[in-house]
């Protein structure tokens, strides 16, 4: 009996220990983190402030330091034999040139970059459990969250002192809006990953073999575009005798990079989904402005006339793309790389098919002003308490110098070729990335075209692969089609972007997250998508738009708008 009791008590103790193990573990973690955070911040901050003269932006650590990091990766990336994300040209150069050893605590698939992507889920768990790497990349939502929680190292001082002149130039190349978005209460808490958002300006893709067949000319005005859409719907452009074609392709999400309404709306001077400046200088949400209503009314009219696929509301971009290969669509608004996907696939199925990119037409035939996203969608941050916050700036210096600076070496840092001649894009592997703003990109493209024109490869400052593809295509090899339609010197999406969109772009002016947005933004976006889809499909009259605007404002839109205006006034 006695032994029985003792055994029983022991089992009970074990079971209790099991159920409470989670809780006690949690306390330890947050305590440990708080302690190391406080200690580290003190020593790191003073070390940087004590040295007098400006330090070397590329100075090597001796002995080498170790940086714990996390990174979003993509399973389609290719590496040289024996290399991987933790051991490649970048990590080796980091160590030998800068004395920085990068140790990846973890890596995860980048996925769709939404909140539920593998990388973001893993990072959210990391953040919640107080187990942050030293240097890592975050979304605007995570940035706001970490900044509010005071978990990020202030980079104001180290950026000032350690950033190379070239780095500073590139980081301010977008007019400074990205750097401003990484600044909270006057403190720079992150390094924005700037992209050249001119690449995201939409173009009009037209099926040119159909245009020739029906003797149509490229449109300058929206009315001319509507005439083409009507002709493609009613005049049997595929010549099979059946009325099975539509005018224009849409996808169920309405926006996006393929079969999007964004480019179409830009033609009306409407900028749905982005924050634009009104005449009075205040920011407003483009989806709620009257221009959007006008464009929606026209889309509704086209849907009624059978010029839009009746089932578009259930087709994602992949599904909508099938209609290109099925010879059902000849007009779509999308991005410059649509020639690679989905148009190249469609062309593989239909050899006579050809597509070319044109500038977005406008109502009055003037030059279009396409809308583009905020230049930074991701930010590199440093954990509060990390002893060497300047390492992040040095890594950024190194990336921009080796990729775009005077000592750039594209054959090494942007693409390597293995023994079999297979190309791999090494530009994806660095830990800290921020790319060229628009101005620098324009120069590269012009150099590419000059090189093609003069047949002189030495003029290139980027785009080596595009140069090769152009020569392949000119030599009769069809596999260069997608490249040439994207970036060739004539009739390409890039000629549209860089020669025809010469006016200022209409940039989305706010890329962060406000307090109210955290709770209400997804509901507002859902409301927007549902209302617009209903209006286009004729399930609701066009005046439903006014009702949408007032409920949008009531459900939090108004608060968000004033929050954003307040933030922008403060900058």
């Amino acid at each position: 009996m006695r032994t029985n009791t003792r055994r029983w008590a022991f089992s009970l103790f074990l079971a209790a220990a099991l159920t409470t193990a989670g809780c006690s573990g949690g306390n330890d973690a947050s305590n440990a983190n708080a302690k190391s955070g406080a200690g580290g911040a003190g020593s790191g901050g003073t070390a940087a402030a004590q040295t007098g003269e400006a330090p070397d932006p590329f100075g090597k650590y001796d002995p080498a330091i170790e940086v714990h990091a996390a990174k979003a990766v993509n399973k389609v990336w290719k590496f040289l034999p024996g290399d991987d994300i933790a051991n490649n040209v970048w990590t080796r150069e980091y160590e030998s040139e800068l004395g920085i050893k990068v140790a990846y605590d973890w890596t995860a698939e980048a996925g769709d970059a939404s909140e539920s992507s593998p990388y973001n889920q893993k990072l959210n768990v990391s953040i919640a459990s107080g187990n942050l790497p030293d240097i890592f990349t975050v979304s605007p939502t995570q940035l706001k969250q970490l900044a509010d929680a005071g978990q990020l190292e202030d980079l104001t001082g180290v950026f000032d002192r350690y950033a190379a002149p070239w780095t500073k130039e590139l980081m301010q190349g977008d007019g400074g809006i990205s750097m401003a978005s990484a600044t909270f209460d006057g403190k720079l808490l992150a390094l924005p990953n700037i992209t050249a958002n001119i690449y995201n300006a939409q173009v009009l893709w037209l099926r040119t073999d159909w245009m020739e067949k029906l003797k149509l000319t490229p449109p300058k005005t929206m009315d001319e575009l509507h005439a083409i859409i009507e002709a493609f719907t009613t005049k049997d452009p595929d010549g099979n005798g059946a009325a099975d074609t539509y005018g224009i392709a849409l996808n169920k999400g309405l926006y996006g990079a393929i079969a999007s309404i964004t480019g179409y709306m830009n033609g009306f001077g409407a900028y749905p989904g982005q924050w634009v400046k009104k005449a009075d200088g205040q920011l407003a949400y483009g989806s709620t402005l009257p221009e959007t209503k006008a464009a929606l009314a026209k889309l509704q009219e086209m849907f009624k006339a059978g010029q839009i696929d009746r089932e578009f509301a259930v087709k994602d971009p992949n599904k909508a793309s099938e209609s290109f290969a099925q010879n059902k669509i000849g007009v779509q608004f999308g991005e410059n790389w649509n020639s690679y996907f989905p148009l190249a696939d469609a062309r593989g199925q239909n050899p006579g098919m050809d597509w070319k990119a044109y500038a977005i037409p406008t109502v009055d035939g003037s030059e279009a002003k396409p809308g583009v996203p905020f230049p930074a969608a991701q930010y590199t941050v440093v954990r509060k308490g990390f002893k060497h916050p300047e390492a992040a700036v040095k890594l950024l210096n190194f990336y921009q110098e080796k990729s775009y600076g005077k000592t750039r070496d594209n054959a090494k840092y942007r693409s390597e070729v293995d023994a079999k001649g297979e190309k791999m894009n090494t530009a994806n592997f660095p830990l800290v990335i921020s790319d060229k703003p628009n101005a620098a990109v324009v120069q590269d493209i012009q150099n590419l075209w000059a090189a093609i024109d003069k047949k002189d490869q030495s003029l290139l400052t980027d785009y080596e692969s595009a140069y090769d593809a152009y020569n392949r295509y000119a030599g009769g090899d069809e596999s260069g089609w997608a490249d040439v339609r994207q970036n060739g010197p004539q009739d390409s999406a890039f000629t549209v972007l860089f020669k025809q969109y010469t006016d200022d772009l209409n940039v989305n002016l706010f890329g962060g997250r406000t307090e109210t947005m955290a709770g209400k933004w997804s509901a507002l976006q859902k409301l927007e998508g549902e209302t617009f889809t209903k209006i286009i499909m004729g399930a609701a009259p066009i005046d439903e738009f006014d009702k949408f605007v007032s409920s949008w404002n009531r459900l939090g839109g108004e608060t968000i708008t004033s929050e954003i205006n307040e933030i922008m006034d403060g900058r």
């Binding site: 009970l12 079971a15 159920t19 193990a21 989670g22 809780c23 573990g25 949690g26 973690a29 990766v73 993509n74 399973k75 389609v76 991987d84 605590d105 973890w106 890596t107 995860a108 698939e109 980048a110 996925g111 769709d112 970059a113 992507s117 593998p118 889920q121 893993k122 768990v125 919640a128 459990s129 187990n131 992209t195 958002n197 690449y199 995201n200 990079a257 393929i258 994602d316 971009p317 599904k319 099938e322 209609s323 290969a325 099925q326 790389w337 690679y340 996907f341 989905p342 190249a344 696939d345 469609a346 199925q349 996203p373 991701q378 190309k423 894009n425 530009a427 994806n428 692969s465 997608a482």
Partner: protein, 294 residues
């Protein structure tokens, strides 16, 4: 089988069959289409021409899979996980269920112990505490992080426990008289007699381990260590086209390759499809026996 009754019964039976067949087709057809896509040319798939039969038959996708190191690696992780997890789960389930199936006279704290186990079904630590427990035990990024947190499947314990309780008490008593101890009774009498229930639990365990993907995502530190289900999940989610870098344009051809995705989904679900029918006959019988003899 009930013999045919009146006209009403017959009409009902016809309708019932039609309904069930439609339901079965609803489940099978998507799989058949994925199978057809995996054997089709990629341009035909991109054009949406593939219905239930391959168009331009090719084995290219399967050749591609055989060369895909990450797919094969993940397959290996899953095999390892299923083997280890299966062993650990089965041993622990039997060892837990046996004592808990005894009466209060033999095991005084039995009721409380059962409640403690049931408690863990109703209340769980949640994601973050579990994550921290895994991290501090130091099994992060290893196969142990996938098999140890779920080592005792309480639902299965209760299933088996109920089955054990319904075995005739006389068997146990006579064994005791012949001098057998608890170990002998458990391993030589209870386990062999509960094969139907065991088969059911085996199936639950194998399918559970094969399909579980979220723990792989959270506990593994490298995509190369993902188990197959996690890998397949990253395969089917959409790529982010927003702010895509131009250098990546060449990747689009690969990302849009739906035939190879289809082939990987087929290979990924094939083993479990094969196991299912063999264990299923026990599966039905097992649960019915376990509950009816109550």
């Amino acid at each position: 089988m009930v013999l045919s009754g009146g006209v009403g019964t017959r009409i009902f039976r016809v309708c019932n069959h039609i309904f069930l067949i439609a339901l079965a087709l609803l489940c099978i057809l998507p799989l058949v289409q994925v199978l057809a896509m995996s054997f089709s040319a990629s341009s035909a798939v991109a054009a949406g021409l593939v219905r239930l039969w391959p168009v331009d038959f090719t084995l290219k996708s399967y050749v591609y899979i055989l060369k895909n190191a990450q797919f094969l690696g993940s397959f290996g992780v899953t095999l390892q996980r299923v083997a280890l997890g299966f062993l650990i789960n089965m041993v622990l389930v039997v060892l837990t269920a046996y004592p808990l199936s005894k009466g209060v006279q033999a095991f005084r704290g039995r009721t409380l112990m059962v409640w403690l186990f049931v408690f863990t079904i109703l209340f769980q630590g949640g994601l973050i505490p579990s994550y921290m427990t895994i991290r501090m035990t130091g099994i992060m990024d290893s196969v142990w992080a996938l098999v140890l947190p779920g080592a005792v499947q309480v639902f299965n314990v209760i299933l088996l426990l109920n089955f054990f309780r319904n075995l005739p008490k006389e068997l146990e008593e006579s064994a005791f008289i012949d001098g057998a101890g608890h170990w002998t009774i458990m391993s030589r009498i209870f386990v062999p007699l509960s094969l139907p229930a065991m088969a059911t639990i085996m199936l639950f365990t194998i399918v559970g381990h094969w399909n579980s993907w979220f723990d792989g995502l959270i506990y593994m530190n490298k995509p190369e260590h993902y188990p197959l289900a996690t890998y397949l999940q990253t395969l089917i989610i959409q790529m982010d086209f927003k702010n895509m870098r131009t250098e990546d344009a060449y990747l689009l051809a690969e990302i849009s390759n739906r035939t190879s995705k289809a082939a990987q989904i087929i290979i990924g679900s094939l083993p479990i499809l094969v196991v299912y029918p063999f264990l299923q006959r026990f599966f039905v019988k097992g649960i019915v026996l376990g509950s009816v003899k109550e």
